[in-house]
Symmetry: C2
Subunit: 236 residues, 2 copies
Amino acid sequence: MTDIDTDNSPIPERKRGSGVKMVYDLLRDEILDLVLPPGSPIDEVQLAERLKMSRTPIREALVRLAGEGLIDTLPNRSTMVANIDFLNLNPFFDALVLMYRVTTRLAAQNHRPEDLPIIRGFHEDYAAAVQARDALTMIATNAAFHAAIAEAGRNPYFTSLFRRLLDEGRRILRLYYQSYEEQFPQRFVDEHAAIIAAIAARDIETADRLGKAHAEQIVEQVQKLFARNNKLDIAL
Amino acid sequence: MTDIDTDNSPIPERKRGSGVKMVYDLLRDEILDLVLPPGSPIDEVQLAERLKMSRTPIREALVRLAGEGLIDTLPNRSTMVANIDFLNLNPFFDALVLMYRVTTRLAAQNHRPEDLPIIRGFHEDYAAAVQARDALTMIATNAAFHAAIAEAGRNPYFTSLFRRLLDEGRRILRLYYQSYEEQFPQRFVDEHAAIIAAIAARDIETADRLGKAHAEQIVEQVQKLFARNNKLDIAL
DNA sequence: TGTATTTTTCTTGTCGACAAATAAAATACA
DNA sequence: TGTATTTTATTTGTCGACAAGAAAAATACA
């Protein structure tokens, strides 16, 4: 082995403020896709070596992730990917259903014409993923679709909470879809279309009702997966 | 002026993890009490000198505060206390009213016996502040009272959003009470008592209704202050 | 005098190093 | 052999220093 890099390290330089964002995005994606499963230890030094930067920007990214509840930090000890409380998902479901409702309702009330193409774009991406039976893309595009609706509702407080819930939902769904290759039914695509129509028509009450029903469908679907999984666990 | 500290700097040492929390709490309090008004620049070096520590823990505290929306950071440039969008407080009011409702409802549903003494304690603190016509303590204890109710509701997603809204509310109220020495009416104390009763009785619907009415009262009160202030602004 | 360009200053972002706190390993002791 | 104590090792929290980026100041030019 020689001292000279095989690639002669041509461009090891990054732009000045990009380090933190790079680490943040990388870790966030790996956490949400369960590449880093809940409970995984996160080693600052190791990350620093891998990404060829000092610990400082990595530390800042970790602080931000901790603020969003994606990692847990034990003082003076280890830091690890946040666990999911599978024994009591009710608070999560409660918050998720309410935010589905509220953001859909507000989108019907406050959206601007330029919002609709964006929402429709994610809707089509989602439909394509359903067609292709690509569960992972379905999970991600579904979250993006509803996040876009929330943006159109123009309430940053609701939007930020909803994004956090959708992120957590990605982790939960990913956990079950990777083992069972389940898929969202076509029904969800149709419901998305109906939601878009209600928003475009500025029909607030219908949007509210559809948002709530859609959310409860999803919760029910997840709970079904859970029940089946628990039965299997017991059977084994 | 001599080089020797007047106090001989006897214990300049802090415990290891306490630096960040100290800075965070200090800045948070100063921001919420408008000691640092919206738009104030925050100088890392200056803070480091004042608190006799390096910039690293200060930076970490700033990252956390930015994550909570209390400060804004411009890349490679200044960082300053987050502004308040006075021209459009509707999203704030919408979110505030909904969280008042939801947290009060959930408290009626999920509280445990040990939660009630805590809630009643803040209730008494608030009543005392009203009696003493101490506007600042009223603002703070009112927020603490409702945060305690949210905790009893045991939904961390709602609680964290609600805390953020209550923080923002402290800033808004503080701005107006410091100029007009207005005060919350006795009515709010009575409403608080009724809310506690509904929670203790586990009367979910009543708690929901009272929480909503109480929130709308507060929003109306704030909007009244705004209207009066705007009239004065125009008159001047 | 007004505008464009260069220089300076000031603040932030990143780095490498060191010390404290904890966990793990090793040792002593019963 | 089992428990308590010391020692080692690993990881975090903090520090001081330096360089990049942008604003402000100074200069050049019309």
